[in-house]
């Protein structure tokens, strides 16, 4: 069984995911509105953790998980009522389970008494409710359950996504080494764990086990560790489970085994694994499909479940209807997912990136070929470009993850913040399935945590104050995500009091962040909250007020190539808008030239390019130049001025203006010499390789080998706004007394 150690890491990783599933479910558990699917999901998560823990011999963890699971079983059987106190206890139990896992990961035992308080609380709920469906496990002080084969617990339905299929396979593989399957036979391991009320529906396990024995040479092992005492036994409740090892001819397939359990599918948990003989000199007879057992070697071990094996989905599905309509995609054989080390994916992404560059270089050289010749080569390269694009998109989608993994953490945060501040808060989320690069997802946790804390602590009013101003007692924080213009936009909106601008400004002046007497627009004042060291609260709380938060948020977002904006209406609330790139690896861009330099503009920012007439150009006195485009004035940004590039075309009428749009919808006109063409470019981080530059999102290598900077349109707008002195430009007609607010 030493082989099992290889699977421990997977177990811990997957248990972490299951803890999250359980936690998010617990946070949604509301007295009076119990969702049975949710409760089942929590139960399965805890049960799977327990089952895997049993396989690895984590007895303390298993004993505690069993206590937790028993209460969850009572909840799902409606014998334990859901109360706020119960939910709190269960959340604590979930946390503790996480700690037990941490101890197990380190190879340590939890200190004595670690679980006592929570176990006592769990048992109080148990005794307060009706009789649990299963006997509680041994108390922590009593001998913990002995390590059991994963099969005892790792049943398909309760094992989220067949998570412990690998451990099952390892157990089977270890056994196969000791006791190989005879040639021409298959060895099936069937774990049959009936629900305690199975007998009451008239079903008789002995008949099923006898039917299995008829299929081949069966060894039946009865697990009696869940038996209660003589005094506590309820005569009609079943506390036994079984593991059957069946050596059968190759014509015994999964369907035949499924048929045995056809009428109890909803009343028991079943997991089935199949082992083929190791490849030997004597070749086994061909094995009929539905379980691909005979191909892998050595030894071939396949975790299978009664439902929906890939080979014959309709038949198997019918053989085992699923309660709650879920879980069909779970478990080993039927799993449609594989786990891949992230490094491998990153290497793949890098290689695709290099391929994109090479393809661009070839395309560059091909342009120099005589027109009309090498037609087939050109067509082939065109196809290659298309395939490269598709490959890039496919590889990027591997790294894409839904933001739900981050959003699901927020209900707990809101709950804790609400408890700390005494405010009533309702969190509404939307767009959780929006996908974005894994790196972006991972780096969203801290910024969102900070912002939601701020919204609750600073933004929302207390219940009494809200009632006074005619608002509902409970404030609402809305967290949403959506794709927009090739980026992901995340918004955190609250219906609180909004930013107190006079207070923000006076604090900023007091702290020397703004010179006294400065006149700032509302937007500028709102943005002061992102300055390092800024805080308006007089008392530092656990939640906020230390002045480290929003500046860190902005820095984190910026380092991801994103931007953050704040929009606030006094008395109505605030809205924080985060805009982030979907991927940090490749983008579609337009290559432009300014003087001798080349830049890349993200395609998603570009609206159009045009050559303005002199009549369309106007100068704002003491400010910038604007251009009339499509009925609105657009600020002109001279790239050669911003970056100090000599030899560029300075007159917009002789150059080109590329109209670009930022995520907030505002437009700019970038004055450039020439638009050279569209190109897929590989993003190379400037911060990682050099340092951050204003107005520049990243760098790339062009097809001709030159390095080009990828422009950050919103950054360019900020740069142009803050340019105090303007370089000489060709005079353009000044607008009289402009009341125009340039974009």
């Amino acid at each position: 069984m030493e082989d099992l150690s290889r699977f421990k890491q997977t177990y811990f990783d997957e248990s972490a995911e299951l803890l999250e599933v359980a936690e998010s479910g617990l946070l949604r558990l509301t007295p009076g509105e119990v969702d049975s699917d949710e409760v089942n999901a929590i139960f399965r998560a805890v049960h799977s953790i327990k089952g895997g823990g049993g396989a690895f011999g984590f007895t303390d963890l298993v004993a505690f998980a069993h206590e937790f699971e028993t209460v969850m079983d009572g909840v799902r059987n409606n014998t334990i009522p859901v109360t706020t106190e119960l939910v709190d206890t269960l959340i604590r139990a979930n946390d503790l389970l996480g700690q037990m896992l941490a101890y197990a990961r380190e190879g340590d035992s939890a200190p004595a008494g670690t679980t006592d308080g929570t176990v006592a609380a769990l048992r109080r709920h148990l005794s307060g409710g009706a009789q649990p469906a299963q006997a509680p496990a041994a108390a922590p002080a009593a001998p913990a359950p002995a390590p059991v084969p994963a099969a005892v617990y790792a049943d398909d339905e309760d094992d989220e996504a067949g998570l412990f299929g690998d451990a099952m396979a390892a157990i089977a593989a270890a056994r196969a080494e000791e006791d190989p399957v005879p040639p021409g036979k298959l060895r099936w391991t069937i774990v049959f764990r009936p629900r305690s009320d199975l007998l009451m529906s008239g079903n008789e396990p002995a008949f099923m086990l006898r039917a299995l024995r008829r299929l081949g040479d069966a060894t039946v092992e009865c697990h009696t560790d869940a038996l209660p005492t003589l005094q506590n036994l309820e005569a009609e409740l079943l506390h036994l489970s079984w593991t059957v090892t069946l050596i059968a001819d190759a014509d015994v397939d999964l369907d035949k085994i499924n048929d045995v359990f056809e009428f109890v599918a909803d009343d028991c948990d079943i997991r089935i694994t199949a082992e083929a003989p190791p490849p030997a000199a004597e070749a086994p007879p061909p094995v009929t499909d539905p379980v691909p057992v005979a191909t892998a070697a050595p030894p071939a071990v396949v975790a299978a479940t009664p439902e929906a094996p890939k080979a014959e989905p309709p038949k198997a599905e019918a053989a085992r209807p699923r309660p709650n309509g879920g879980g069909a995609e779970h478990a080993g054989l039927t799993s449609h997912t594989i786990r891949v080390d992230l490094d491998k994916i990153d290497r793949l992404v890098n290689m695709v990136g290099e391929m994109v560059i090479t393809q661009a270089m070839i395309a560059e050289h091909v342009r120099e070929l005589p027109p009309g010749e090498f037609q087939e080569l050109l067509e082939g390269l065109e196809q290659l470009a298309q395939h490269t694009r598709e490959l890039r998109e496919s590889v990027m989608s591997i790294r894409a993850q839904p933001v739900s993994s981050v959003f699901s953490r927020m209900p707990r945060l809101v709950r804790e913040c609400a408890a700390t501040t005494g405010k009533e808060v309702q969190l509404v989320t939307s767009g959780e399935t929006t996908e974005v690069d894994k790196t972006v997802v991972e780096n969203l946790v801290d910024p969102l945590t900070h912002m939601i804390r701020n919204s609750i602590d600073h933004g929302l009013e207390g219940p009494e104050e809200r009632e006074r101003v005619g608002k509902p007692r409970a404030g609402t924080v809305h967290l949403s995500a959506q794709h927009r213009s090739g980026r992901i936009v995340i918004e955190i909106t609250d219906d609180g009091r909004g930013i107190n601008r006079p207070k923000v400004l006076s604090k900023a002046i007091e702290k020397g962040l703004v010179p006294p007497g400065a006149t700032l627009s509302d937007e500028d004042i709102d943005n002061l909250i992102f300055l390092p060291g800024f805080s308006t609260v007089d008392q530092v709380s656990n939640l906020s007020g230390r002045g480290v938060g929003m500046d860190v948020v902005r820095r984190n977002i910026t380092s991801l190539g994103g931007r953050i904006g704040v929009y606030s209406t006094p008395g109505e609330g605030s809205r924080f808008v985060l805009s982030l790139p979907l991927t940090l690896a490749v983008l579609d861009g337009m290559v432009i030239s300014v003087g001798e330099e080349r830049f890349v503009l993200p395609l998603t920012n570009i609206v159009e390019s045009l050559r303005p007439k002199a009549a369309d150009l106007h100068g704002l006195v003491g400010k910038c130049d604007v251009m009339m485009a499509r009925g609105e004035y657009v600020r002109l940004v001279y790239l050669h001025q911003l970056f100090g590039i000599p030899g560029a075309v300075a007159d917009p009428t002789g150059a080109l203006v590329v109209l670009v749009e930022t995520e907030d919808g505002s437009r700019l006109g970038l004055v450039v010499d020439e638009v050279l063409g569209q190109q897929q470019v590989v993003i190379k981080s400037l911060e990682a390789n050099f340092r951050r530059l204003d107005g520049v999102a990243a760098a790339t290598i062009l097809g001709d080998g030159r390095v080009a900077l990828i422009l950050d349109v919103a950054g360019l707008r900020e740069m142009s706004r803050h340019m105090d002195s303007r370089a000489p430009r060709p005079p353009v007609a000044a607008l009289p007394a402009p009341a125009l607010e340039p974009v």
């Binding site: 007998l199 008789e204 002995a206 009865c222 009696t224 038996l227 003589l230 506390h239």
Partner: protein, 103 residues
Amino acid sequence: MTLIKWSDEGGTVRLGLPSDLDLAMAQPLLDSLRAGFAASRTIIAEAAAVERVSTACVQALLVASRHAAEQNRTFAIAQPSEVLAEACEDLGLDGWLKQWSQA
């Protein structure tokens, strides 16, 4: 509470298991076992007449044997019928039956 046929001979309680140990008989069997252990340190379940047996009744006998082991009592299943033996074999409890029928 319904108890199955039993007799107390010199401090040994003998339970005469009926021919039909179906699910409905599980509760009387369990009650009888509890009463037997309350009355005596030695319980013998006479199983020769058993012609039909449910898992629930086997489970009750199993729990009784554990109880006896934990409480240092004597418990035995005397002359198990072929049906009971087959049922125990199906349930993977043939080893258990062998152990407790020889006690």
